[in-house]
Symmetry: C2
Subunit: 554 residues, 2 copies
């Protein structure tokens, strides 16, 4: 059998989030990133969704490395669940990425693993893979694209990126190295496609600084900036502007404080000691000297900004003249929550900057011209758009075609359905696995499709309809030991008709029980009771879930 | 006591939807509009939300008129519920508005009511009110703003509007009449504020036609356009373009077919008979000769477009080369659903136009410059922004100030908290009522605040946690008649630990029952069982709702 370099996405295709790609070559496996995503609102009670890792479990002993591109949770958030069951020989990533990963792991798990910090342009051989780390610009510092070389060819995984010509930390996209490598040829480019349906080039982070400066300069009092805790560049800009304007900065919330600590220690964030004050000390300063950095740009219930908007934050009460800046876009699905927060803050007397046209946010992901530029630099033979919903992959494919890559050399893949490189030739593989893993508390539920999980289906029914319980208690001789007992939760009967309907239900259930008792077989009685109760209720109301228990004395 | 002309919003303030305003003067009441809105996703099982109408119920006999501005459901959708309990002397509106209202009412209710069609510029006296109807441009034809005159002064309710200089039906905003009336002075302007946080003037409907033409002209096969069923202008444009391009139009779905019928009959929509084909006949035509108009722009589960995207539409199967145009913006909260539909359509081989930059939709509501223009024309003494979330009201207020209305003459009101005009002077009133009415099937639940409804709260708990039932059967002598029975729905125990945990729960419940039996009082036993069961479960899992029934033989 010929050797093939298999590249199989485990997550991040046809969706935004839970990015992960598996590499397999000559019996060795490596995994690039292992993120999570948040569940859609109808997956009641689910905390996170992570990629299907059944193939990794089955091939545990082959896993040589986990390679991390950057420290966002859609790339590292699933690790704490995966690493409970799978132990790679080494975990590679930048100092900041690994710092954030470790922050996220239980101490016992952390100490059982080997981490290795890699530097830009560093090349590391693990098993039959050779990884070279390329600096890319994104909304978190120390982000890498990864070049992977095997005997079958060389491919480039961009990770998340945009071409930011004026990055805040001066660490430019390493176009030079990519161009140097591309002289020897890249076989395949796997590119981020998140904003592939947006024309133009994604704006530079520096633009946001200009808008923030204008707003903060004219702010009559306190400025509260909400941002993602890992958006170190954004935090750097808020700090720099505050220093210029003579404002002190207070950091609010565990995640912000932690990531400020890690990024400062590693030199990615530069904050003078005297520029920072404790949140508890802000009232000692004139309002015009105070900037607060907090979380909650997505309307997350426990976040700083949401507690502020509910008047439930111990350290921060909104007063007239406060300026709030929501320095992020709502993730699709969160628009309504964010809007609620904005309205509440306005009501409390703050003026809130939240609009696109306020210029207070730019994406960290590539738009159409970034992708075009990436293709021009890498000059790949094959192109595989990743990290995006299907519509984004379609738009990315279009750009690939426009850039002269032959149609048949552009592959739209799926989670579990990847490609194999052999002798510089790429082909599609059959699907290895499909589905995802739902995480709820400390339980993991592998699902192939949504309908797989009975308890989630039941929750949906309970959520919209409520429940009605019918309890029947029979003596050994199958006579009624007591009247039929009915309870409801999340369900109400039409006002004024309650007694009548309950009487009808009880009479019907009694009839059914007597008939079954006569037959001497209670085998199917629950279905029969459920059916009758529902048909009685249907006459006046949307029937709930019905559970009946016919219990006999023993 | 002096006479006051009271104007009290019942809905539409601090929210998008369920617009309604109550007028009261010298013992007479009139209601302008009575819409519904769709519930937020966490109001499980609720179908619609309508305004709190308790004040109207208490003053049933005073209600002289219901006055309708236009036929959108956020202005007329609540009527079928209100009119079950309240019968006004007359219902006034344009022919199209009343046509759509009647379409929505059960025949019996309809025949018990008096409807009166009003024409543009018509003035009608009802009780102590005088209403004059002013044509405004909006995304449905025959939309009115309403001038209301009483002895205390004259006010203008804009209804929903934008200044569209090139309306599809040529019916211009009646600026002339407004300017004429404003010479005698307007005391108060109540203006739509829906897009008050967007700069500029809202685009003309005609612009959409240009984009649609460009897309449809170059479409290689069928074109499927999804739009709101009442967006007659949009439908007119699709029909006109199809006629120009030699395409036949098929209308899909009851709501589209009905509104096309009503609008055609009244002359608001002009479709040549030979331009229309039945959906069942489309396969007889070359694909390039087919346009389909359907619903589903919001990803509504039963809509045409969603069934098409799921491959479940009997009449329409997507084939390669089909063009789908989603000619509407997602309503906040629907973004994720719409995105799913787009992705599925792409996967089936269609090319989908859904992006803002495709120019396939404009709003029907006023942006900042529309509001500015409205204030300039009406020149009101007082300004009250309505129809908008709080953030929109704040922005509208800002525009009012910029236009020279004194700060103290701009009122931000609330649902139930209105204003009173007396002798040309406006003052704020105390709140008359607060809350809303949730509609579920044919049940109506008045609520003052969300927490009011036990069954909704229970559904939330059931939705995220599921339920565990503990049933205990006791003989008359309070001995156990049979083993403790446990059932769950929407809840699972950690794999491998099920037996152990159930044994622990049963043992604990048995202990509790015995202790209570000894005391001879089962009064509080449910709470005690619930508490213990939850504390056992908490050790390994997120505990569900627990219901216990301790039943004794009788």
């Amino acid at each position: 059998m010929k050797n093939e370099f298999k590249i199989i996405p485990l997550g991040g295709i046809g969706e935004i989030g839970k990015n992960s790609t598996m590499l397999e070559y000559k019996g060795d496996i490596a995994v690039i990133d292992f993120g999570f995503k948040f569940p859609p609102p109808d997956l009641f009670g689910v905390d996170f969704i992570i990629p299907d890792y059944s193939y990794l479990l089955k091939n545990k002993n082959k896993i040589k490395a986990i390679v991390l591109t950057h420290g966002h949770l859609d790339h590292i958030g699933g690790l704490r669940f995966l690493l409970e069951e799978v132990k790679p020989s080494v975990i590679l990533g930048s100092d900041l990425t690994l710092g954030l990963v470790k922050e996220n792991l239980p101490p016992k798990l952390k100490s059982a693993l080997k981490f290795e910090v890699v530097k830009p342009r560093e090349t590391i051989k693990v098993g039959n893979f050779e990884f070279t780390f390329i600096t890319v610009t994104h909304s978190i510092p120390a982000s890498f694209g990864v070049v992977v070389k095997t005997d079958e060819g060389r491919v480039f995984f961009t990770g998340d990126y945009k071409f930011d010509a004026t990055p805040i930390d001066g660490r430019q996209m390493d176009i030079e190295k990519l161009e140097e490598l591309s002289k020897d040829g890249f076989d395949v480019l796997f590119s981020d496609s998140t904003n592939a349906d947006e024309s133009g080039l994604t704006g530079s982070e520096a633009i946001v600084g200009q808008s923030l400066f204008k707003i903060m300069e004219s702010a009559p009092g306190r400025v509260i900036v909400a941002t993602f805790s890992t958006n170190i560049h954004r935090i750097q800009q808020v700090v720099d502007i505050s220093e210029r304007l003579g404002r002190k900065v207070a950091f609010d919330g565990r995640s912000i404080i932690e990531s400020v600590k890690i990024a400062s220690k590693l030199g990615y964030l530069k904050v003078k000691d005297e520029s920072v004050i404790e949140l508890s000390d802000i009232s000692a300063l004139p309002k015009k000297m105070v900037t607060i950095v907090t979380t909650g740009t997505q309307g997350e219930p426990m976040s700083g900004l949401v507690r502020i908007s509910n008047g439930e934050h111990n350290g921060i009460k909104i007063t007239k003249g406060d300026i709030v800046i929501i320095s992020a876009d709502p993730i699709p699905g969160n628009e309504r929550l964010v809007s609620e927060v904005v309205n509440k803050l306005f009501k409390l007397g703050a003026f809130v900057y939240y609009r696109k046209e306020d210029g207070i946010h730019v994406s960290g992901h590539c738009s159409q011209e970034d992708i075009r530029f990436m293709i021009d630099v890498v000059k790949p033979k094959y192109f595989v758009p990743v990290h995006g919903e299907y519509k984004h992959l379609v738009y990315a494919k279009k750009i690939g075609e426009e850039e002269g890559i032959p149609k048949e050399n552009i592959f739209i893949v799926e989670n579990g359905l990847g490609v194999a490189l052999s002798n510089g030739k790429l082909r599609k593989l059959p699907k290895i696995s499909t589905g995802e893993v739902l995480v709820e508390g400390n339980m993991k539920f592998p699902v192939k499709s949504e309908g797989d999980l009975t308890h989630i289906g039941e929750r949906k029914e309970l959520a919209t309809k409520g429940i009605l319980l019918v309890i029947v208690f029979l003596k050994k001789n199958r006579e009624f030991a007591r009247p039929i007992h009915i309870e409801t939760r999340g369900f109400v009967l039409p006002r004024g008709q309650e007694g009548e309907i309950l009487r009808e239900i009880k009479a019907e259930v009694e009839k059914i029980v007597k008939a079954f008792a006569k037959k001497g077989d209670f085998g199917n009685i629950s279905n029969e009771i459920e059916r009758s109760v529902k048909s009685i209720l249907k006459k006046s109301v949307k029937p709930p879930m019905v559970i009946s228990s016919v219990l006999t004395e023993k």
